[in-house]
Symmetry: C2
Subunit: 261 residues, 2 copies
């Protein structure tokens, strides 16, 4: 019995658990960003949140493909459950995006494309943005190429800042130590801004959990008094891409239904 | 390919989307209540969040079984994905709990049992608790029988309070109007306490979203200055039951593996 028997709406498949708190944050933002007056107006989702997948950043940097079988297994489970598209609320996992997209007929939304498009379209005409992300996301150039093609320079933290502040801060989020994480990550963001970044990409879905205020696309009313530049919340921008996919899919479904009558 | 190929841990299946914000809240509480220092320490979960299911309270009160095929479809999808037990972060949906439990070999955790056990075990020796819940949860006696068996009286709001404050407040949460919801629901809780309730059951998973502070089982540091009596957060108590299931299952799996070697 497929879920599509019981819902007229296309279902989003979420390949999550990387980390699990980021997946919960994605789900909350998805609900709170959907125009709805009752349960039934919300997007149906099936979430595969299996955090036992090996660390994406460590694996990539060590030249290991260990996460791949877990990603592929999750994709297959989401396909079987009836998903109509896939979203992955983890930037680093996008190092395997092209292989996942090649392994399925479903659209696999891209968090980096969603974010790079929002940066290029920002009214301030940004030319120099700071990237806070895992070392693997930086090494794997998930953001560099798309942004440079749009004429935007990407600044990254120094090697020491990257290790002692960004990666340590991300690990602290994963350990549930949000106070420690906030202090480490705020300091890394400040350094990027002091060095000339006109905006900061929260290019790991753990980061909006502690630096989420004043983010582009953040819920109205949130603010982050510490900084004057825009922060790009990649979780929120992936949510926006999911909502756009959902609108397109519902419209296509309606056209197809009216055609078949 | 089953998920169990790639994780040694039993997987929780979440029959959610009732409503979707309550499901996101359940996921956050599950992650934040799990002792973990890294992603891989967290519980693997599949979440079926399909809010297109007809309203449980309206259906039950109208004598309609409309939610059942949606619940059964969700259960089958979670079984196929490889879930080892089912949790339902919606009190009203538990009106169908016995049928779901009869339809599967999996353990289907019960939010009402988890909550009633916590109330009966509370050190204050509670004898009279207020129940805030949907009208169907009250009519269907999800809490009444277990609590009366434990010698605890259940107080419910007046018919007018139930309609104008509790049900209106729950609808406001589902519409994303959290400010309106807070004011309506605080007032209903205050009335129950003024009338002699020694504690309040947040017996609908929308309620902890706005009345969650100072709840039994709430995260340390949260507080709700408005009330002096304990609030029982049913979402958090379901999370606790899930963690207990996970511990039991992992222990059983280890015993079985050591036996087979």
């Amino acid at each position: 019995m497929s879920a599509s028997v019981h819902t007229c709406s296309p279902i989003l498949g979420v390949l999550g658990g990387m980390g699990p708190l980021a997946t919960a944050d994605f789900m909350r933002k998805l609900v709170q960003s959907t125009p709805a007056t009752r349960d039934q107006d919300h997007m149906p989702v099936f979430v595969h949140s299996v955090p036992q997948i090996p660390d994406r950043s460590e694996s990539f940097l060590a030249g290991s493909d260990a996460p791949w079988p877990f990603l592929l297994s999750g994709l297959r489970i989401l396909e079987t459950a009836g998903a109509g598209a896939i979203a992955i609320p983890c930037n680093t996992a996008h190092l395997w995006h092209a292989r996942l997209a090649a392994a399925t007929d479903l659209e696999v939304l891209h968090i980096g494309t969603a974010t790079s498009d929002a940066i290029a379209a920002h009214p301030a005409g940004l030319t120099r943005v700071g990237l806070m992300a895992t070392s693997a996301t930086i090494e794997g150039r998930i953001y560099h190429d798309a942004l440079r093609a749009a004429g935007i320079d990407v600044m990254t933290p120094s090697a020491r800042q990257q290790t002692d502040h960004v990666m340590a801060g991300i690990a602290a989020v994963k350990a549930g130590e949000l106070g420690t994480a906030t202090s480490l990550l705020q300091s890394a963001a400040t350094r990027l801004i002091d060095d000339g970044a006109q905006a900061v990409i929260l290019g790991c879905t753990e980061l909006p959990l502690v630096l989420g205020g004043k983010s582009v696309g953040a819920s109205p009313g949130e603010s982050n008094a510490s900084h004057d530049v825009p922060f790009f919340d990649t979780t929120q921008l992936l949510v926006k891409a999911c909502l756009a996919w959902w609108s397109r899919s519902k419209a296509a479904q309606l056209r197809s239904e009216s055609f078949s009558q």
